[in-house]
């Protein structure tokens, strides 16, 4: 039961796993990811016939189904001859990396491959590593290139960087903290640095950085998910932030979906606009509010940013 090695060979153009959220509610995240990558001269190659990764839900019903779902996507990446898979959703990073850990064990690998092949998928040998798009941008572009790409610095904005749970956790699956060049699992800072490179003021020691958003139970446990959404906003308010930056569609959607309840239970004064970090980066790289799709977000960062002089 030793953990699988978390990173393998590096591809010039890794495979990109969109996942359901980026193709659905999180469209603004996908579009602005692409804008940011373009401006930084980075490319990813989309896994075309991907399937849902199963998030954290499927594993509670069946281990094998919860491994086969992500493994099929990793197998597709391997058949594109890629060794690296980049995903933008924390939940996807978690379940893809969890599948890698599981198929590291031979008996499991044999069983999963029998399932995959029965379903018409190529087999998977465990040789594709998984990375969050935040880490990909940070490692590949570096802060220098980000600074050089800025056209409209985010000067005057104070941002609370919200990472959530599964970007780093657990390191046994993600390899974050145990692989050279990855973020710090307890005190991540890649997002802080990227936003700072874009000219924003970033809240130091934002205490809600890695707390849970409750998104897994967004529908099934309202008390908890509303409270977590509220405390992410409340900590941002206490730290003097104007807005919250997210790196995960689950976090983004969970906070935004609960805004009415948060207002009613905790008061309007804690509410802040919430935006994907790539929306903010794209804005800094010269996109308009519309191009960065900031009007897609229910918390309407576009209105707030317009009042601050962005167009």
């Amino acid at each position: 039961m030793n953990a699988a090695p978390a990173r393998g060979p590096v591809d010039a153009v890794p495979a990109y796993y969109p996942g359901c959220s980026l193709d659905g509610l999180g469209k603004a995240y996908e579009v602005t990811c692409q804008q940011v990558l373009d401006r930084l001269d980075l490319s990813l190659d989309r896994i075309v016939d991907y399937n849902c990764c199963g998030a954290t839900e499927v594993k509670n019903l069946s281990q094998d189904v919860s491994i086969a779902l992500p493994a099929r996507n990793l197998a597709l990446a391997r058949s594109m001859d890629r060794h690296q898979v980049v995903a933008a959703c924390n939940g996807c990073v978690y379940s893809l990396a969890r599948a890698n850990d599981a198929v590291h064990e031979e008996a499991t690998r044999t069983r999963i491959n029998a399932t995959l092949q029965a379903g018409g998928s190529p087999a998977y040998d465990g040789s594709a590593s998984v990375q969050h798009v935040l880490e990909f941008i940070y490692q590949r572009a570096g802060l220098e290139r980000v600074r050089a790409a800025v056209r409209r610095p985010l000067t005057g904005l104070t941002v609370a960087p919200y990472y959530g749970c599964l970007y780093t956790r657990p390191k046994r699956y993600t390899g974050v903290g145990t692989t050279p060049g990855t973020d710090d699992p307890e005190h991540p800072h890649f997002l802080d640095e990227l936003l700072r490179a874009c000219g924003a003021k970033v809240v130091e020691e934002y205490s809600a950085k890695t707390i849970c958003c409750g998104g897994g139970h967004a529908l099934s446990d309202l008390d908890v998910s509303v409270a977590f959404g509220a405390s992410i906003l409340n900590e941002a308010k206490r730290a003097g932030a104007d807005l919250v930056a997210t790196i995960c569609p689950l976090g983004q959607i969970n906070i935004e979906n609960h805004l009415d309840r948060i207002r009613a239970e905790f008061g309007e004064e804690i509410v802040r606009p919430v935006a994907y970090f790539t929306q903010l980066m794209s804005l800094a790289f010269g996109s308009s509010l519309k191009q960065a799709r900031l009007g897609d977000n229910f918390s309407r960062p576009d209105l707030f940013l317009r009042a601050r002089g962005f167009v």
């Binding site: 039961m1 359901c20 959220s21 193709d23 659905g24 509610l25 469209k27 603004a28 016939d49 991907y50 399937n51 849902c52 199963g54 998030a55 954290t56 839900e57 499927v58 594993k59 509670n60 019903l61 069946s62 281990q63 094998d64 189904v65 086969a68 779902l69 099929r72 978690y94 599981a102 499991t108 399932t115 029965a118 379903g119 018409g120 998928s121 749970c165 599964l166 780093t168 956790r169 657990p170 390191k171 046994r172 890695t210 707390i211 849970c212 409750g214 897994g216 139970h217 529908l219 099934s220 446990d221 908890v224 998910s225 409270a227 977590f228 405390s231 799709r293 009007g295 897609d296 229910f298």
Partner: protein
């Protein structure tokens, strides 16, 4: 933590604690002589350990690190949500006490802080869910909202290979007997439609060539469910016996 309130210290408890004739007080200079407890009921621990998600349960040495940082216990403040204790109760087979938490244990939000921090490599989050599954399958515990959601989610995504978010929302609301007012739904639907994000029903995304995989995975799901149900030990006979 030092005990600041002296009145909390009871001499009887600290200095004269004896179990089965063995001094377990931990008083200065005493070593705890090991004793063998043979009447623990290990059927729960064995069952949990037999599930791939629960196999790390036996590594736990009860340090409490998981509970100390648990999002539900510490951040949300749900004191009775105590992963260390759930594992302990499963290990010693104190089923009646464990059952008292059947309506709490499902609330784990899968934040994985516990897994990240456990010094023994216990996959705490998965172990906790497996204990929850035990409580449900072995009779007694009703299906929890989280279990209903997991089921709705899985069935939804297996249908087309890609989740239909709007359909999942509708299915789950029906399962819970909840109804979001039509006006609110319409407002949400319009916002999503305008920004090109409403892919539901006939417009839902699908994975090309998924049908074959769907059949295999649905069969696997049914098989796993049946296997878990069949392997679960018989429901407990209430006895009042403490381990």
């Amino acid at each position: 933590m030092p005990i600041v309130e002296k009145s909390l210290v009871s001499v009887d408890r600290v200095e004269h604690l004896e179990v089965e004739g063995i001094d377990v007080s931990g008083d200065w200079n005493t070593f705890l002589r090991s004793r063998v407890v043979t009447d623990l009921d290990v059927k729960i621990a064995d069952w949990v350990k037999g599930q791939p998600q629960g196999e790390t349960i036996s590594r736990c040495w009860q340090c409490g690190t998981c509970t100390a940082g648990c999002c539900l216990h510490t951040d949300y403040g749900l004191e009775e949500f105590n992963p260390r204790y759930f594992i302990y109760l499963a290990q010693i087979g104190y089923e009646e006490e464990l059952r008292r938490y059947a309506s709490t244990i499902w609330r784990c939000v899968s934040c994985n802080k516990c897994v990240e921090r456990c010094p023994k490599g216990v996959k705490v989050e998965e172990v906790i869910h497996t204990i929850g599954t035990y409580l449900e399958l072995s009779g007694g515990a009703a299906e929890s909202p989280a279990d209903r959601f997991d089921r709705a989610y899985t069935e939804n995504l297996l249908g087309r290979g890609i989740l239909d978010e709007a359909a999942l929302f509708r299915t789950y609301e029906r399962l819970e007997g909840r109804r979001t007012p039509a006006r609110e739904l319409l407002r949400l639907g319009l916002t999503l439609l305008k920004s090109g994000r409403l892919h539901t029903g006939p417009f839902a995304h699908r994975t090309r060539g998924w049908n074959r995989m769907r059949k295999v995975l649905e069969a696997k799901l049914t098989e796993d469910r049946a296997r878990r149900r069949a392997s679960v030990p018989a429901p407990p006979v209430p006895s009042g016996r403490k381990p």
